[in-house]
Symmetry: C2
Subunit: 214 residues, 2 copies
């Protein structure tokens, strides 16, 4: 492959998140036929500084040309490889309630290469229900077998807070090591498992604090 092997250094998580923004923007630019872009232009779109963009990229190599900028398609491809967005990730959705169904229908992330391959719920009334894309809601006991059969690598937890730990345990027992969880509150996982929490409550509380103290 290229001259720049990924560096094994310590990469800030925040840098990874920004790289995913750059990746998205580059995809749009490529669709528009833009060939070249500078760190300044990328930065402006997201309200960042140019050196932030360059530093983020520098963790993984040198992708630009001095005096010129970056070749859009090449950089997009490189970021895709770095982020693992070059191939499709299959996901299990646990919870077919409000939030779960909204996520299921919200297929934006599909363009990024994430696909919900199976849906599970503990409620017998929901099990057996047929969703779009040929997916049927399965019972919790099916998580273990389904993960293996369908090469599922990521779990999404969209159950009520009380059921969160149980859902996470079922996923980790099935060998899942990457989980996105919606319910707030306490969930503990083995430490080789990456758990990312989306906490609406914390976000709202941060806005509340801002309003109350400005």
């Amino acid at each position: 492959m290229g001259a720049n092997a990924p560096r094994r250094a310590k990469i800030p998580e925040s840098a990874i998140r920004r790289l995913s923004f750059y990746h998205r923007h580059l995809r749009d630019l490529q669709a528009l036929g833009v060939a070249t872009i500078s760190s300044r232009e990328i930065a402006r779109v997201y309200g960042l500084e140019p050196f932030q963009v360059r530093k983020d990229l520098s963790y993984f190599g040198s992708f630009g040309r001095r005096g010129r900028g970056y070749a859009v398609s090449r950089l997009r491809q490189r970021l895709g490889l770095i982020l693992g967005l070059d191939s499709e990730w299959r996901m299990a959705l646990v919870g077919a309630g409000n939030i779960g169904m909204a996520i299921f229908r919200y297929q934006e992330y599909r363009r990024l290469g994430f696909r919900i391959a199976a849906v599970f719920d503990a409620d017998p009334d929901k099990v057996g229900r047929e969703l779009e894309h040929g997916i049927t809601v399965e019972p919790m006991e099916r998580i273990g077998p389904a993960v293996g059969e369908q090469d599922i690598r990521i779990g999404i937890v969209a159950v009520p807070p009380e059921a969160a730990q149980n859902a996470v345990d079922a996923l980790t027992a099935a060998g899942i090591t990457a989980i996105l969880s919606f319910p707030g509150g306490q969930v503990l996982v083995p430490k080789d498992v990456a758990l990312r929490r989306v906490s609406l409550e914390a976000d709202l509380a941060a806005l509340s604090y801002f309003l109350a103290n400005k």
Copy 2:
């Protein structure tokens, strides 16, 4: 009103988010009738360290008793005041699609004191639709007047990415200074406005990076 006025220092955003977790946990403890708790116990629930909890609290004052711990009800009340969770915040939801409706129905945050007081959508087919809690979907032009009439202070944006900037502009024009936004991509706001992005795409990309590089 006590002896400890809030300090005007620089408080880490991450500390604020953790305080919202403590607040939630204290509410549960209070419901269970627990009178006193130590930083160690709070920490254990969230997989944190005791000094982290004490440091977070210390930004705002001294709420415990040495050798004893914290009085649950007193601490909960104090955190509520600090975070602005002692009174209700009224919110405007922009976007009555998948995500918007899921948020509308997901009323967990209501217990925290956040209430969706009005819902707006640009789609004429959706305008006029009657939702629960006596709310009717209103057209975008109503954002300005409604914000004033109903004392709305927070905006939630749940529209497609292309429409995000427009929705945010409508909210800021109406005087909203705290916004929670779901669509990924570039949205710019005046700098006195707090914009918090919930980016599923970035979260998934971080998980993808983790899987691709472990």
